[in-house]
Symmetry: C3
Subunit: 350 residues, 3 copies
């Protein structure tokens, strides 16, 4: 694919240093780009060596002019580069832009299906009864949408994903393969030695611009809703229990587990394999370290690590000591011996 | 839905304080219930403020009579409430009670299918050869049941779940979406630098009244069976390796991993993200804390936490010290300095 | 099934101590074998009591002759036993040996399908457009192969697995049920409070003789490829992020998470629930302990444990101290008191 540099400038709303007629054939990282490619540089590290990339053009920050390269100056080079990448890789573009519209004759469509225009429903996808979906929705093969589900516009649901009854999906949502939305919350009432299942009557509501990774499991609420707010991104193999709320623009990294009735604020980051205990609250802008085990609520703007959690700065000091514990223990023994000898020397009865 | 309070009393085998003709329209938590709803109170906390709920009736413990509210006295209010909830939410009821019976013409049914009455097999479900299933079984869309599987009565298998060849499922079992039962155990014989696959010839047997969460993976045995005993409940994303036995009424919380040939007793509780090393035994009534790493066998009735595991009470003390390690290290340095000065003062050669 | 012992000797390339006409009816572990079975013994523990097994024949190491049992002497008894097991359990044999060849009329096959001979494609499997697969490939029900995927010979893909567009699968690869190959890498560019999706333009390439467990998620690269090299084995619920390379014959145990751009050498072992931070390198023959959190690169031949990681021998000493921390803290207090008394006794101003 060939795209004029001036066209790229328009797409990213950037200012060119020249080369309006330069033909660009691809987008690539700084070290992999060839003369036909465009790349980006947004940190001192790369800006310093900008003249060493082979790239034919470089997307740079607004105020950067010190280069003999053709440059496109923008507010946010990384985002601009992602937009250019999408231009060159239609198959990697938000899928609604290249849907091969239509409902496969091999899909199963239940009763009372309400659907928008330009949708694509693949073979052996199942749409059960009373389902509503918006425009430009793509349902991949073998995905299952159960009764009374409502899905917005520009949504993509990958193969073998399952959206269970009554759940609600907003606009521009991506659900990756194998993920389950709306499984029963893990709720049982002890009944002697055994457990009696508590019916899970609520739903999962996923708001606009959310992306859910592969093989996640997000449980429906016992009452009301489990809610994934606008802009949330989850990685693979994430567990979100019943009645959890994840606030806007929060990021949940792979294999995180969030227990029941947890509330997470806006713009939080939960690193990989962290676990959050039930019924607690994490404030806005909270960051939780990898493998952390968070047992108590965390106030906004805190960075916590460790299991159980502690302030991240403290954790950094603690972890440096943990691997020196044998040494500390040895010192303690030496001190005890010295004390014994002092005691002896002083004839003190300590 | 409108149900007479007297009918509710019958269902939960409770004793009414009055209001036999009272019409109840729903079941809701203590703080969310309206005058048309029934709720429950089973702890001092809620019983104390029972007259403050808006609920039209309250399910209470047997011996509780101090209330101006209409009450239904029962042995176990929480279980009774769960039963009433199921009455009001047929869609959340054990699904065999509202199955739209029949085999979809879009399902695939292999040879020698033996099935009971009132079953429901959804579109694009696959039943391979020589499968036997009991009465009132519900197979959701795109679930796969491979050769020679045997399934009991009143079982529900959710979308995109997979039951692999020869596995056995008891009665009243629920398998949530995306779960895999009977994948190969992780067994390889080192053969020089490479590994030779050890055929996994056994099965998984799931006994009555078990509920398996979403996106679990339960491996078949190398020989014999991996066994999930009566009443076990697993949460989402749980891994159970080959030749494991999980005892009756045990509870396995989300993202727990159980290594090969582990035996777990009755009524155990494994909290979220715990890991159990291979070839060990956990006794009856064992409780394992969240994120614990259990490396050695645990006797019955023990509560263990930490990684590696230790008695939970010890772990509580240990974890309070871990975050004070920098302070302890500082103290140790101060003590060393004091000792040096004492040594000097005493002219001792320590 | 009845197999002559001499035939078994041929299959495992072993030397018989006699009994060429002996009929063997099965293969079983040392303690479970009957007179009709063959078993194996490869350690002093079992060789010592070899005459106590009921087995009709025993596979033993090359140099072992002290037994009244019929023996089959081989280089690697464990591997030989696995081969015999496969003989007796065709259903557990590499599946390409017993495929019921053919494409189900209930499968969906897209345009430009290129396929080898003796393949088996099950009902409701989906092969999208421009897919190439080799000889003796088995695709189980409801597996999905998206556009432009290339698959080699003798591959088995279990139910509800998903192979996304353009990914490449080598020869003799097994992909277990529910696994997702080629989901988008978790890449987003911060754009104010929100995140802009970075298109994931690369692929996943899986080389020969790899086995991927159930419900794994392996992400495609942002650029280039995520690569799983020859002979790698992964257990269940493993997460492998974008641009990771896992070297030949490495073993990844259940619930391990590997972050983006990690490079792992040959013959590494990552134990269960370990987590590897992004952009680091693990050398050849590295072993990582269970639940370890590896934050920095690890050189070849190292064994690391703990979170954060430390040499395994150090970790063994550290973990013995961790559970004695309350005791150490108490000692420290006692020392402080003693010092105070010394100070008083000496009238020193410390």
């Amino acid at each position: 694919m060939e795209i004029l540099l001036s066209r790229i400038g328009e797409v990213v709303e950037g200012k060119l240093s020249g080369g309006y007629d330069k033909i660009i054939c691809g987008a690539a990282p700084f070290d992999m780009a060839t003369r036909e490619d465009i790349t980006f540089a947004d940190s001192a590290k790369f800006l310093k060596k900008i003249d060493k990339t082979d790239a034919g053009a470089v997307i740079v920050p607004k105020n950067f002019t010190r280069s003999s390269k053709l440059t496109v100056m923008v507010e946010n080079p990384r985002v601009a580069f992602a937009k250019v990448l999408a231009l060159f890789h239609p198959s990697a573009k938000p899928a609604y832009l290249n849907s091969s519209a239509g409902i496969s004759s091999n899909a199963y469509i239940g009763k009372n299906f309400l659907c928008g225009k330009d949708i694509s429903i693949a073979p052996f996808a199942v749409i059960q009864n009373n389902v509503t979906i918006g425009d430009r929705v793509i349902i991949h093969p073998n995905a299952v949408i159960e009764d009374n589900v409502v899905i917005g516009n520009d949504v993509e649901i990958y193969p073998n994903a399952t959206i269970l009854e009554r759940c609600k999906i907003g606009n521009r949502v991506i659900i990756h393969a194998g993920t389950v939305i709306g499984s029963d919350g893990f709720g049982f009432a002890p009944d002697g030695e055994s457990y009696f299942k508590i019916p899970q009557t609520g739903i999962v509501q996923i708001d606009d611009d959310v992306e859910i990774g592969a093989n996640n499991a997000i449980d429906r609420a016992t009452f009301g809703k489990t809610r994934i707010c606008r802009g949330v991104k989850t990685d693979n193999l994430v567990h979100i229990a019943h009645n959890v709320t994840v606030g806007e623009d929060s990021v949940i990294v792979a294999q995180v587990g969030i227990s029941g009735s947890v509330t997470i604020g806006r713009h939080a980051i939960l690193a990989g394999q962290a676990g959050i205990a039930g019924h607690i609250t994490l404030g806005d802008n909270v960051t939780i370290g990898p493998q952390a085990g968070v047992a108590a609520s965390v106030q906004s703007d805190q960075v916590m690590s460790g299991s159980p959690e502690m302030p991240h700065r403290l954790w950094l000091r603690v972890q440096r000591i943990i691997c020196r514990l044998p040494e500390l223990k040895k010192k303690l023994s030496e001190i005890e011996k010295k004390l014994d000898r002092i005691k002896e020397g002083m004839k003190l009865d300590l």
